[in-house]
């Protein structure tokens, strides 16, 4: 809207000021009104400068325009007064300013400025009234500030360009006159005209000089403002870096670069424009210069300052938008796995990580078009990491590190460099990824991820590769937040305050001080239970991710509840109320605890031995809960789980999650009977509260299963259920299977691919490798049955291929052997604490299937597991002799075949 229109719409108080302004002004308001648009369009400020020819031109244009206005007015009454006023104004103005039109220009310029001032004040007041509470976050006010400053910067830049053009005109005029009139060496003492010319020339030069200084001052000012702007952008960028780091850790934050990109581009454009302006100014100086030319002394400074700002801006604008990440673990970026062992060409200790792309070229060309708005994005996909191997260089590089860091504590960086050339500005830009961990095997993923968490949570320097030489402890509030993100990103539900409280108590004891901090070793290495805190949590995370995502997301799993707390919660509930919580003693275990109120005595609490991924793979938790049976000798088997804590009927809570029962299709000729898995616990009537978890395979149709609680010998299942492989067919994902092997092997398999070198990881050239995990296509062997052998069951069960694995667990030995495959089931010793096993039990679900057809074979690359793997019992518990032979047998893992008759 035009200024004058705005002025007229001002509220009365402010309008009063406008009237005051014009009361004494030599420019009558009539003139202002009738030539409003034209007046606002002219550059009066410029004209107000001394020696300006512009002023005279403007003044006379105004008079002419007034004349035209007079002519166009009709003969009406209203027009009559207006006509009179305009005519009078015209005569007055002419009389007052004919001699000094620049005074007139000055006057108008000031009036316009005052008007703007009044407008601003009115607006400011209006805004204060309009926004009573600035409830919008400070974030957005910062954004507004940046936006506003960018606009101001652009306006100021335009003004500078206008000033530059004016200077150009002045210079041309001067140059022309100089060539025309300046005749040195001749005798002009008799030529009064010559003296006049020279004087005029001098005046022109002076105004040129003034204009030059003006332009210089203007550019100085612009540079000052852009510094502030750059500061702001820098702040925003570091906030973004922080957000990115957090989002790498799983925090739900926005890492969109679009707005930042817009800002950086706008400022960059502006600065480049300024650079071009500076160069144009430099060209003008080349044409005309003189003693004390301001351009001579100031231009180099200006250009240096500008270039420095540009360099800084561009340098910070080069970022890694997406941190490196393996394709199949998108939730855990910054852990990479080497593909192959290769000899690297890069000397150690350089940062020269090679970058490679699918085009077999190590570089990509990014072109700046005329519209850099689209952004310069370079996508390096399919990088293959190849490890530098052997040679003195490898060892040397390792040796330069202080102390041997564990593989998963070695941090690596990929540095991208960009040769930037635009508008004559050539820069070498550099940016690095966040440090990442290179593992040689997927079983290191968990501990590698722990390192990544710790680093990004605590490192003040995002490039500190030596971080783990002295890792600082993590303050609990910070750690709690990060842990919550893990659950958020894995299972879409973070940790509640109660959860975190339980974890804090677990780590720091009851009533932890608010400033407690957890040292790195306690987090990732030591643990009273034989595994570290992180291993335990990660086990739960894996379990959640694989089997319990939906239940966790919907809040059906109470999860982190201590035993004490659990009793407190259930005590006041009716019999049959149960809750689901994570086992504290078993890696990746989940268990149900329910309460029973006997007729007399205190309420009793029972919990089943934790289910781990192995069991849940064959049977989902909701189904377990639905079909759970407690067997006591004298009773009909019953499901004790009636109400989900706090008070929801079981089927109501879990109904939506039950899997469809496979009904037999009667029309089809049945070759086999249907079968279904349920979980059963048994208890002696006389024994008090002991629970034991069993895995039983049974058939649905033939509920003939009888468990002999005496347990010395398995009750024959009677009929061996045949049946189609229905969806209910147990398909155990058996990480345990692999882990068992790995644990025995340890890490030092000959020819294993543990990176030796901390820094030079070559990204393999030419090869189009994806960062493979080596696990993606790993077939999952099926474990048909789990056999538990009580301590009494002196159980070496010679089956099949002859490899033997004694088992673990306190007193319980479990053994499962197929032809060379063993599965270890950690027995829940923790959960059973205080519940001594009185009677060994041996239960065998019998169900013989055509195992071979069920069992995909293992890929030849068996996965090695880190001892700290969550699924794995600690190695000291494992006594797997001669596992190497077990492992190397064939690579194939033949089916696990257990025949019930073996136990007879």
């Amino acid at each position: 809207m035009a200024q004058w229109q705005e002025v007229q719409q001002l509220p009365p108080t402010h309008l009063e000021r406008v009237h005051q302004l014009y009361t004494n002004a030599a420019l009558p308001m009539t003139v202002r009104q009738s030539l409003a648009d034209w007046i606002e369009d002219q550059d009066w400020q410029q004209a107000a400068e001394p020696f300006s020819s512009h002023a005279r031109m403007l003044f006379h244009s105004l008079l002419t325009l007034l004349g035209e206005q007079l002519g166009s007015l009709g003969p009406g009454d209203e027009d009559f007064m207006l006509k009179h006023n305009l005519r009078k104004a015209r005569i007055d103005l002419q009389a007052a300013f004919e001699e000094h039109p620049e005074n007139f220009a000055n006057l108008v310029a000031n009036l316009l400025q005052e008007e703007r001032c009044i407008l601003r004040r009115a607006q400011a007041k209006g805004q204060v009234e309009a926004t009573p509470a600035p409830s919008t976050a400070s974030q957005s006010s910062q954004e507004q500030e940046i936006q506003q400053r960018l606009t101001e910067f652009r306006t100021a830049l335009q003004e500078a360009e206008r000033a530059f053009r004016h200077m150009e005109d002045l210079q041309d005029t001067f140059d022309f006159s100089y060539k025309m009139y300046y005749r040195p060496g001749q005798d002009h003492s008799h030529d009064p005209q010559y003296a006049q010319h020279i004087q005029a020339l001098q005046a022109k030069l002076q105004s040129l000089d003034r204009q030059r200084r003006e332009v210089v001052a203007q550019i100085q000012q612009l540079l000052g403002r852009s510094e502030t702007l750059r500061d702001f952008l820098q702040q925003e960028l570091s906030a973004w870096h922080e957000r990115q780091q957090r989002s790498c850790l799983g925090a739900p934050t926005d890492t969109c670069l679009l707005q930042l990109q817009g800002w950086f581009t706008a400022l960059g454009e502006g600065l480049f424009q300024l650079l071009q302006l500076l160069r144009a100014v430099g060209e003008l100086r080349q044409k005309v210069t003189y003693e004390q030319d301001p351009l001579q002394s100031e231009l180099p400074l200006l250009e240096k300052r500008l270039q420095e700002q540009l360099t800084c801006l561009l340098q910070s604008a080069f970022v890694v938008e997406q941190q490196p990440c393996m394709p199949n673990t998108p939730k855990r970026p910054l852990v990479l796995r080497t593909a192959n062992i290769h000899i690297d060409r890069d000397p150690p200790k350089t940062r020269g990580f090679r970058k490679f792309n699918i085009l077999t070229s190590s570089s990509k060309t990014v072109l700046v078009g005329d519209s850099p708005r689209e952004g310069l994005v370079c996508d390096f996909q399919y990088l293959t990491l190849k490890e530098q191997k052997g040679g003195g260089s490898g060892k040397g590089s390792r040796g330069t590190n202080e102390g041997p860091l564990a593989v998963t504590e070695e941090l690596h960086l990929i540095t991208f460099t960009l040769a930037y050339a635009y508008c004559g500005l050539e820069l070498k830009l550099e940016t690095s990824t966040l440090p990442f961990v290179i593992i040689s095997n997927n079983n290191q993923l968990s501990s590698a991820w722990a390192s990544v968490l710790w680093f990004n949570m605590l490192s003040p320097n995002p490039k500190d590769q030596q971080f783990f030489t002295t890792p600082p402890p993590a303050p609990w509030p910070r750690l709690a937040e990060v842990l919550s993100w893990q659950f958020q990103s894995t299972a879409e539900r973070g940790l509640s305050r109660e959860h975190l409280h339980m974890l804090a108590e677990k780590l720091f004891g009851s009533k932890p001080p608010p400033d407690s901090a957890l040292p790195w070793t306690k987090f990732s290495k030591d643990g009273a239970a034989g595994f570290s805190f992180w291993a335990w949590l990660d086990g739960i995370l894996a379990l959640l991710h694989d089997h319990l995502k939906q239940l966790w997301k919907d809040g059906l799993i109470l999860g982190f509840v201590s035993r004490k707390q659990e009793k407190k919660l259930l005590k006041v509930k009716r019999s049959g109320t149960f809750l689901i919580r994570f086992s504290e003693s078993v890696l990746g275990g989940v268990t149900c605890t329910w309460v029973e109120h006997p007729e007399s005595g205190p309420p009793a609490f029972r919990a089943v031995v934790p289910y781990t991924a192995a069991e849940l793979a064959s049977l989902a938790l909701p189904d377990i809960i639905r079909d759970y049976q407690l067997l006591a000798e004298e009773n009909i088997p019953e499901n004790p789980l009636l109400f989900l804590y706090p008070d929801v009927a079981r089927d109501e809570a879990f109904g939506p999650y039950y899997s469809q029962r496979q009904e037999g299709i009667l029309t089809k000729k049945k070759e086999y009977l249907n079968q279904r898995l349920i979980r059963v616990s048994s208890r002696q009537p006389h024994e008090t509260w002991q629970t034991q978890e069993e895995l039983v395979m049974t058939t649905e149709d033939l509920e003939t299963l009888r468990l002999n609680s005496g347990g010395q010998q398995p009750v024959s299942p009677g009929t061996v259920p045949g049946g189609d492989r229905t969806p209910g067919t147990p398909q155990a994902v058996s990480p345990g299977l692999q882990q068992a092997v790995a644990a025995g092997l340890g890490m030092q398999q000959p020819g294993s691919q543990i990176p030796v070198l901390p820094s030079p990881q070559q990204l393999g050239s030419g090869s189009l490798g994806v960062l493979q995990t080596g696990m993606g296509d790993l077939g999952l062997p099926v474990v048909l049955q789990v056999v538990q052998v009580g301590p009494g069951g002196q159980g070496v069960l010679p089956i099949g291929g002859g490899a033997v694995g004694p088992l673990l667990g306190s007193g319980t030995a479990e053994l499962l052997l197929g032809n060379g495959a063993a599965e270890l089931l950690p027995s829940g010793l923790g959960d059973l604490e205080g519940l001594p096993l009185q009677e060994p039990e041996l239960e065998v679900g019998a169900g013989q299937l055509e195992a071979t057809e069920l069992l995909p074979t293992l890929d030849d690359s068996a996965v090695l597991l880190d001892p700290s793997d969550p699924f794995l019992p600690q190695s000291e518990d494992v006594a797997l002799p001669a596992t190497a032979s077990l492992f190397t047998a064939d690579g194939d893992f033949p089916p696990l075949h257990i025949d019930a008759s073996d136990f007879q």
Binding site: I198, Q206, Q220, T289, Y290, E291, S297, R305
Partner: protein, 427 residues
Amino acid sequence: MRPRGKAEGRPWLRELEVPREPVGNLIDCLSLRRAAAAGLCPSVIVHAMLLMSHRGGHQESKKKLEISPSETMKAEEENYKEEAKEPKSEDWRPPSVFGAADLKNRAVGLYNIGQTCCLNSLLQVFLMNIHFTKILRRISVPVCATQKKKNVPYQMLLLLEKMQCGKQKAVSPRELVLCLEAHRVTMFVQYDAAQLFLTLWNLLKKQMKNPELVEKLSDLYTISVQEHLACQICSSETKRNSSMLSLPVPLLDSDSSMLKTLEKCLQCFFRPEELTGHNMCFCEHCGKKTPFQQSVKLVHLPQTLTIHLKRFCFGRSAYIHKISNCLPFPQDLDFNAVLTEQQCQAYDNEKAAWKYELFAVVAHSGTTSYGHYCAYIRSLTECKWYCFNDSFVEQVSWDDVKSTYGHSDLYWGQTAYLLFYMKKQPQ
């Protein structure tokens, strides 16, 4: 840069209004050069930072106090008296007649008439200080025109009038520059702002005839401290009161590591220092050179407090380099929170008044050899920040002022060099 020699006449720009001289000569002086100007850069006098570089080096004792001056100007005084020549009409505009609004407090720029950005910045700092202008307005006008021409306070007053009455966005400080030249303050060279500030202030003080005003001026700007020298052997102590125009605070501590905030710098300045080894002093009581402890105690702080950030230091070689690292300074500064009891030598009512808020920042961009000055000043009447970049004046925000904290990676960026704090009005 120094213009051609005096014999030849002053640089052309200022000659213009001297129509007696042959005009043809002037154009000759233009030395119009075409297309080949690049190599002909006139030498820049690296006068600049020498003053502080004396004391900027960390190897030196930091506390050779800059005693407020007055001696330096003796020579000028003689010259000053023997002036008697034909008057010259003042060139400033009479207050314009068509005044529309009251622009008295609006910030007005000063044209750079050749390397005068340093002077311009300081003038703005002086003239935006209403406590100073109150004094300035009371000066007595010299009688004869020559004296008028040579009187710095009078010329400053004229300039102030010109800035406030003219409706221009900027005015030229030409007369004042000529006046300063007459006092051997060579203009059109790169100046160190701290040095020029001292020179200007001394000239002002010298030429204000009224002793009452002189006292007021001193009260407004001078800091009183007490120097203590204590022999570490016999514990004899010598004290000396001195006054300073600015607190020259170091940016590096005794270990040459960067100080993080202005408060830390001030603490470092007032920290006692052991004089041992080469620096030992002769003790009269002991009769030999003994180790001494040297300390400075703060006695009095003026209304307008000037802090000089010693942003320059010697590198390993004789080369002086600029410290462009970030040094945040607060808007509100309470000396009671900065200094300990031992570092003050003042009564409680004096100390109670040691609460300051930032009034102006003179910022420098560039290197020691050449650069640019501008001033950020908070208008005392409107309480808004302005940036004075020669003829360009712009209202800015505190964030813009903060951009003069400095950056370790911006060598050419703006860095605060002189800080002016204003005593807060007691509630």
